[in-house]
Symmetry: C3
Subunit: 412 residues, 3 copies
Amino acid sequence: MSKDDQASKDDPLFKSLIEQLKTLKTENMYESDFFLTWDKTEDELKSVWLMADILRHLRTKNISTKIFNSGLGISIFRDNSTRTRFSFVSACNLLGLAVQDLEEKKSQIAHGETVRETATMVSFMADVIGIRDDMYIGKGHKYQKEVSEAVTQGYKEGVLEQKPTLVNLQCDIDHPTQSMADALHIIHKLVGGVNNISQLRGKKIAMTWAYSPSYGKPLSVPQGVIGLLTRFGMEVCLAHPEGYEVMDDVVKLAKENAEKSGGKFTVTHDMKEAFKDADIVYPKSWAPFKAMEERTDLYGKGDFKGIEELEKRLLKQNAEHKDWTASEDMMKLTKEGKGLYLHCLPADISGVSCKEGEVDASVFDRFREDLYKEASYKPYIIAAMIYLAKIKEPVKGLEKIMKEDIKRKTEI
Amino acid sequence: MSKDDQASKDDPLFKSLIEQLKTLKTENMYESDFFLTWDKTEDELKSVWLMADILRHLRTKNISTKIFNSGLGISIFRDNSTRTRFSFVSACNLLGLAVQDLEEKKSQIAHGETVRETATMVSFMADVIGIRDDMYIGKGHKYQKEVSEAVTQGYKEGVLEQKPTLVNLQCDIDHPTQSMADALHIIHKLVGGVNNISQLRGKKIAMTWAYSPSYGKPLSVPQGVIGLLTRFGMEVCLAHPEGYEVMDDVVKLAKENAEKSGGKFTVTHDMKEAFKDADIVYPKSWAPFKAMEERTDLYGKGDFKGIEELEKRLLKQNAEHKDWTASEDMMKLTKEGKGLYLHCLPADISGVSCKEGEVDASVFDRFREDLYKEASYKPYIIAAMIYLAKIKEPVKGLEKIMKEDIKRKTEI
Amino acid sequence: MSKDDQASKDDPLFKSLIEQLKTLKTENMYESDFFLTWDKTEDELKSVWLMADILRHLRTKNISTKIFNSGLGISIFRDNSTRTRFSFVSACNLLGLAVQDLEEKKSQIAHGETVRETATMVSFMADVIGIRDDMYIGKGHKYQKEVSEAVTQGYKEGVLEQKPTLVNLQCDIDHPTQSMADALHIIHKLVGGVNNISQLRGKKIAMTWAYSPSYGKPLSVPQGVIGLLTRFGMEVCLAHPEGYEVMDDVVKLAKENAEKSGGKFTVTHDMKEAFKDADIVYPKSWAPFKAMEERTDLYGKGDFKGIEELEKRLLKQNAEHKDWTASEDMMKLTKEGKGLYLHCLPADISGVSCKEGEVDASVFDRFREDLYKEASYKPYIIAAMIYLAKIKEPVKGLEKIMKEDIKRKTEI
């Protein structure tokens, strides 16, 4: 028996995950970017989840998963961030990359400087670029594409010695590192692992709007969730008050996904209908897509008074729907009253972070451990995306890691 | 002779330090936090000093002391910082950790978000968390405890794959990385090393207030010094004008320490009495504890006008004590006129950084090299605290480092 | 044949670069700082270019060039920066150093705190310090010297365990990492490599002023270029409108350099004369030296109204010279209409980043790939400067790297 076989034999979980990974077609992940989950095949999505589970497992076994001896991850946050910032830094660190943040305020980025120029200038030794740009409709995804094209061209022209992989840390359309982490949490909680993913078939998830005393929360979370979970035969119910529609294209996509996967996708304006018998509920505030388009226009025109008025109008509109909240009573409607509560955090908790908000304090408290676990998948999801884009033969790469067995922390 | 023995034989200082470390009971340091020096036994404190000396020695020998192959140190500075920030980064780097700063301003920390949530969200791959929070009475230490409890719980629940160690980089009660660095400087200057620590018995240190044209300097330095140095049989004299009392609990503790250790602890309102025959003087401005309590209350009420008035009152009160300064004349009172001058830096130097301040320029200049040496222990003290919390058998860990003899910088 | 010989044989480019490096006298680079290119001998400058080429070549071959197992690079940016910041971080990462930025705003740097103190306090584990300080005449270079003296003293006194190397990332006099990157680009474009550097003899470069709608761009770029390129027998023509003189000392130096090297140095107020038959043109806005001196004085006096008036006057003066621009017509004047266009970026592009600027959009676009390549040398130039200051025998160091053949990224 070779040393490799021995290592696997001693670690049946690792062996099982590797065996699953072997069955998937993942070649196209190599040197690719991760913009939207719907750019990826089911095999590719599964490979990210398996890879995340493997990397986490190796960490618990104190085995180093550094695939880079040196190199940089570049982060660009066009909005404040804690969870995603630390998740990205953690993912990079896990693989051996140092992180340099491009703080646009501290930068000498000239007025009118092209995205191509800035992207190239920060990427001379970049292996990964993570971008969060979710503020304006029609902007974030476009910007990420431009950055990716710039560095691809820079690599082809010999300006860059490597092509950095782009990871979407949230855009105006999708929030794939969030939805993939949410999904991996669901997979572990409901069916026990990626190998049982077919058992998700028929499970009901309610992706619902919820009241928050704030304005303009991004649409990428609900869009990401309905765009992803409709692909695995689930019954996905999107619920929101009238006027809180999400992006048409994503609704259309969710419908198509559901048809293809043998699942179901419905839209309702009744929160109770959504919660009814749901295995999972994901109540969360977001801004109406149309209003966000309006804001983007106003911003483009520099009409800040208009933005202020829009904000007032939206807050007023919000206040009419305070009953959209994950109260104890609402939770009783879920499957056997035991539906799993999800949130991307931070949540607006009634009586804690605000007077009236997205969720009752007692509901949040009951699910606190689950919610933190849900969040804890994100660094591994990001690392998995990077790993699969950087290592041509992921299984062999993992076998090498297992064989070398380099300790992350000295064991004495 | 084994290679280990050979290495030690070739390096008698290393051998001597290791031998001293072997005699100490340090098991409880493993997986512990470092909040206050008085949480620790004398053996534990000595182990930190020895470890700091060993790590520094290995660095001068160009031997890498990385015990982490990857991993993160998280820093949270709730007040501006240069020395401590760079000391923490240096300590983490010395052990193989990358540092990610939690800048609360750039973070998406929700209004009302719990300490537990933020602490968990930044710690998915954190091995260490260093916190400076010294602004408000009754807050800093409490906050650090909450963070530690949160990540301990996160680790138990499987949300975090490791339990980060908390290092107090200054709180409202103690400033252990400062006082431990100060003490190691004293140990080297006065008695030549940790092995001679018993010779500190009877040495006199004057921890005295000094005038500064500024307001509200933290109490953690004088409290840290009297709480620590009373444990080694020294004669510790705390001196300040009336009205500049420090925290009662720490004064009580200092008295008890002195009794137990066979030392002496006195409080006086006469700076000359304190300086008289002192082996060491540590003249430094601080705010009255009662005034800091008042400020904390005013801050809690959002009474910024009240804070302004308090500040004016304190500055006026300060100005009555301009004679509390480490002048050349005062220094002549110290033991043979050669007492060692300490300061945590930056100092308010008369005629340099202010018109009248804590110390004469000529005194400061004469001790400049000493003061920088004093400061230079801090990164090693922090690294020692982390090392002892992370390596179960510190001596074996060091022997491994010595045996492997990995160069920090290529030697060619 | 030894493994070393084999490695070199398999890589003729590496072998050739190493052979060239062997012929150069570089001993004095060891443990030195890099302030100004004119502090260095021609051999030393060539060694930096060769080293940069070698490091870049090794990176394309996926060979790790880490010479540090741990250690810190400290950056101090007293002006906004993207390109230089990322170049410094990249260079440090390439060699194995983590970077910690000293953000003076977030620091507890006391009023009146000496440069010596701050420099020492941030350098306990610093191997390199990179500084950009180009805002005020007579300040930047002086500050860098003070920092270097402080850490040298700190090292001698045993406060620091290593002497950090200072790299000038732009001062009021020179911008060596820029001019050296510019030169390496010229060397590759015009003569094919450092071994053919003698073929630069007689080539004409026009370092010319160009109009920009902004105020006060640093003089270090034109000064750096004329101070460096006059040393290799080139014909260097400095052109600017009357009143836009650069520093006298550097003009004098450029003249002397040209005499020694058998080149030519001329100054003209006619942009066309400069462009005529030029092999290379470098049109770029800068502020008059005299005006920058005036600003420095006003700043010293805190006369912000005076600064505002100066700014207005300069913008008005600028506007009289809008014809100083790298238009298509101007480019036709260059050697066979094919002169190489250089810029340190970001450029003020007419009709793109401003109405009228330094260069026509079509000219900029035609040279975009070249300009990005030019910029891409900077990280390798910085890494080369650090490497040569840190490794006593650079050739042996490289042979070790080649022999060990550690992969930067796992190859699977």
